[in-house]
């Protein structure tokens, strides 16, 4: 019932044109909203933005998570403190993270400008240069970095738990076989992590596809609509433009995208893991 009612309502809504003016009324339009979405340039732009955002988010979250897990695994002293510091980004609300990243990325007050000016030795307002990370070319990657920053600690802790299960004697044997650090990582460390990596790739993929709050606060889909992911487009259509039918129809395309991506991931990666 928890699933069926909202899903059923959304299917019904996607086939209606809704108006709240002159009294609440709906009119049945069949698959018109689904057709309109497919013919909309805005929809395809948002699909493109979503795919880029998700791909960069997942790759960064997994790489940063793996790096942090390895760091925590190998650190001998201050591990508890390090763990506490690493988990912090995950514990921050996405709203707060959005506000913070927006400030960091701005030209006038951002980190990029600050670093560049420090490197160039420009310390006065007259000579300082501005380098904004909030531009239409970079905004999606920047949002993905912020998203990965938020998700990576969770990935890291699960991978760390997995790392702890790898018997130390395997590393001893690798040393006997004179494997170097990189070979030890590929042959001894990585194979037992594969299942966790697969699970978290799937989780971060789904979480990134349905992310809205961080994007809403940090870029509000902008500049222009440069970072209007599908979730942001749905929000804009439903809650700003009161186009509930079209928004509901688009939400099913997003659902298909999420399910399709997860199935593709399982088909090309998860199934092979099951076989092994």
């Amino acid at each position: 019932m928890v699933m069926a009612y909202p899903m059923g309502y959304a299917i019904w809504l996607s086939m209606q044109e809704v108006s709240f003016f002159g009294g609440f009324r709906t009119s049945f339009v069949g698959i018109e909203n689904y057709r309109e979405a497919l013919y909309s340039d805005n929809f395809w732009w948002s699909v493109r933005v979503t795919v880029q955002f998700v791909l960069v988010s997942v790759v960064l979250a997994m790489l940063i998570g793996l790096g942090l897990a390895l760091l925590m695994h190998h650190v001998r002293r201050g591990r508890a403190l390090l763990g506490a510091i690493i988990i912090l980004p995950w514990s921050i609300s996405l709203y707060g993270a959005g506000v913070m990243w927006q400030y960091l990325a701005r030209g006038q007050s951002g980190v990029a400008s600050s670093l560049i000016n420090r490197m160039l030795g420009r310390t006065t307002p007259d000579t300082a240069v501005e380098y904004s990370l909030i531009s239409s070319e970079q905004i999606v990657n920047l949002l993905a970095l912020g998203n990965a920053w938020n998700l990576a600690p969770l990935v890291a802790f699960f991978l760390l738990a997995n790392l702890k299960t790898i018997p130390e004697r395997l590393y001893d044997l690798a040393r006997v076989d004179r494997l170097n650090v990189w070979q030890r990582f590929l042959i001894v460390t990585l194979p037992p992590l594969q299942y966790t990596l697969f699970v978290f790739t799937t989780i971060t993929l789904i979480m990134s596809m349905k992310l809205l709050d961080f994007i809403f606060v940090m870029s509000a889909g902008g500049p222009g609509d440069a970072s209007a992911t599908l979730t942001f487009r749905l929000f804009d259509l439903a809650f700003r433009q009161s186009n509930y039918g079209l928004s509901a129809a688009m939400s099913f395309y997003l659902l298909f995208l999420i399910i399709g991506s997860a199935l593709a991931l399982f088909f090309f990666w998860g199934r092979r893991l099951e076989d092994t």
Binding site: F21, S136, D225
Partner: protein, 442 residues
């Protein structure tokens, strides 16, 4: 003994006087049901204090909270759709028109003291707050949004004191000329990414140039490539393509453009009139005492920005309905002591204009406004600008908020992708036609 009688008499008088005033005011609540009051988070401490004063002085039971950061009109609309228990809410005129058409708010025509309220209102405020012959709400604030602020230090440095542009055409010509001379940081436009940012900037520039988004009679789209709509887009494109405006402005909020101009870097910036008080305050800005503005010389700058206290039309008991009307009148006009206390407080501490003559023409307001200005002469110039600030006719149409959301994204894309003016005008006109059709308006 006489002293005791005197003391009793004095004490009775002290207790009885406020009660008598209260009884005469007709604004005290009749029951103890809670009135739910919600608004956007502008100085919530001040609002909280005003509400506490109401609760303490007349025995009210008002629950005040802010709606969190975001698009207030759309968030509030969803709350109303969801049937939340709301009684008094903030709203801009286009939002109020929309909520009224949906049946979510009740006109303010039957609040206590309505005749006095109408008499005390300026005509331009009355026009902005009325729809379909009804007064939709009571005055929260008015302001000129889109006036061009000037950093007088930079103006003097560039020798422009006697070269003040008289209209938008002359303004952009001057910007491009300065840019050609290699002058940097000339203009911080009002192109931020909030519901009252870039889209409102476009609406007022078209209005100020004598154009309109729609025909006021038929509501048909009225934007043309050769007219004010096209001219505005061409001017925007010219300064954007000349790298005079950083792309990140399109993702700013209002606070960011206030910070930017307050830093003292920019010569000009389009802002709201109440921000003059911020810029001319040495604690908050580096251009204190040096922030003036372009005056009215036949063509307006900006539009009349305003907001009201609206009363929802939700199902309430008769007693609560009466109490809500009383609170609306107390908060939106005169309190139980006969003072326009809330309006006067906003004028004093935030330079917010009021719909009421009794506030705008009071000595207190004059003193407060003068404090927020760089010079005494600016006071009359500001009032002239205010008197000539237009209220967009399209804000009297139910779909204005929907168009605003479309406009906001479309204009950003136009600048970033350097799209043809013809294409944007065609898209805007098409959207207006679509919205008219959707709402059955022509």
């Amino acid at each position: 003994m006489k002293l005791i009688y005197l003391a009793i008499l004095l004490a009775s008088t002290m207790v009885a006087t406020p009660l008598a005033v209260l009884a005469q005011s007709g604004l005290e609540p009749t029951g103890d049901e809670t009135i739910f009051f919600r608004g956007w988070p502008y100085k919530p401490d001040v609002v909280d204090d005003n509400v506490n004063r109401y609760n303490a002085s007349v025995g009210g039971n008002v629950d005040y909270q802010t709606v969190t950061h975001g698009d207030y009109p759309s968030l509030m609309e969803k709350s109303l759709i969801a049937g939340e228990s709301l009684d008094i809410i903030y709203g801009n005129p286009p939002t109020a028109v929309r909520f009224y058409e949906a049946g979510w708010i009740a006109p303010a025509d039957n609040v206590p003291n309505i005749d006095a309220i109408r008499d005390d209102m300026y005509d331009n405020a009355s026009y902005a707050f009325s729809y379909d012959g009804k007064l939709l709400g009571l005055s929260y604030f008015l302001a000129v949004r889109g006036m061009v602020l000037v950093n007088t230090d930079r103006q003097a440095e560039l020798g422009l004191q006697d070269a003040q542009p008289a209209n938008w055409d002359a303004f952009y010509d001057q910007l491009l000329e300065l840019n050609a001379q290699g002058v940097k940081d000339v203009y911080m436009p009002h192109w931020f990414n909030e519901f009252y940012g870039i889209s409102w900037a476009y609406i007022w520039e078209v209005l100020n140039r004598g154009g309109s988004q729609i025909d006021p009679e038929t509501l048909a789209p009225a934007l043309t490539v050769e007219g004010p709509a096209g001219e505005t887009l061409r001017d925007w494109k010219a300064i954007y393509n000349a790298d005079m405006v950083n792309e990140e402005v399109l993702s700013f909020n209002e606070a960011a453009i206030v910070d930017a101009f307050g830093s003292g870097r920019f010569l000009y910036s389009t802002q709201a009139s109440y921000n003059l008080a911020v810029f001319n305050d040495p604690v908050q800005s580096q251009v204190a005492g040096k922030t003036s503005f372009l005056g009215f010389e036949g063509a307006g700058w900006g539009l009349l920005d305003s907001a009201m206290y609206l009363r929802t039309s939700r199902d309430r008991s008769d007693a609560l309905d009466e109490d809500t009307r009383r609170f609306q009148s107390w908060y939106g006009y005169r309190d139980h002591e006969g003072n326009v206390a809330v309006g006067q407080r906003w004028a004093n501490n935030s330079m917010l204009f009021s719909a009421y003559k009794s506030v705008m023409e009071s000595d207190e307001s004059k003193a407060a406004f003068r404090q927020g200005l760089a010079s005494d002469e600016d006071y009359d110039r500001l009032l002239t600008l205010y008197a000539n600030a237009p209220h967009p006719h399209m804000w009297k149409v139910v779909w204005a908020e929907e168009y605003n959301a479309f406009l906001r994204q479309r204009l950003g894309r136009f600048l970033i992708n350097d799209e043809p003016v013809e294409q944007v005008i065609a898209d805007l006109n098409a959207d207006i036609e679509k919205l008219n059709k959707k709402h059955g308006l022509n």
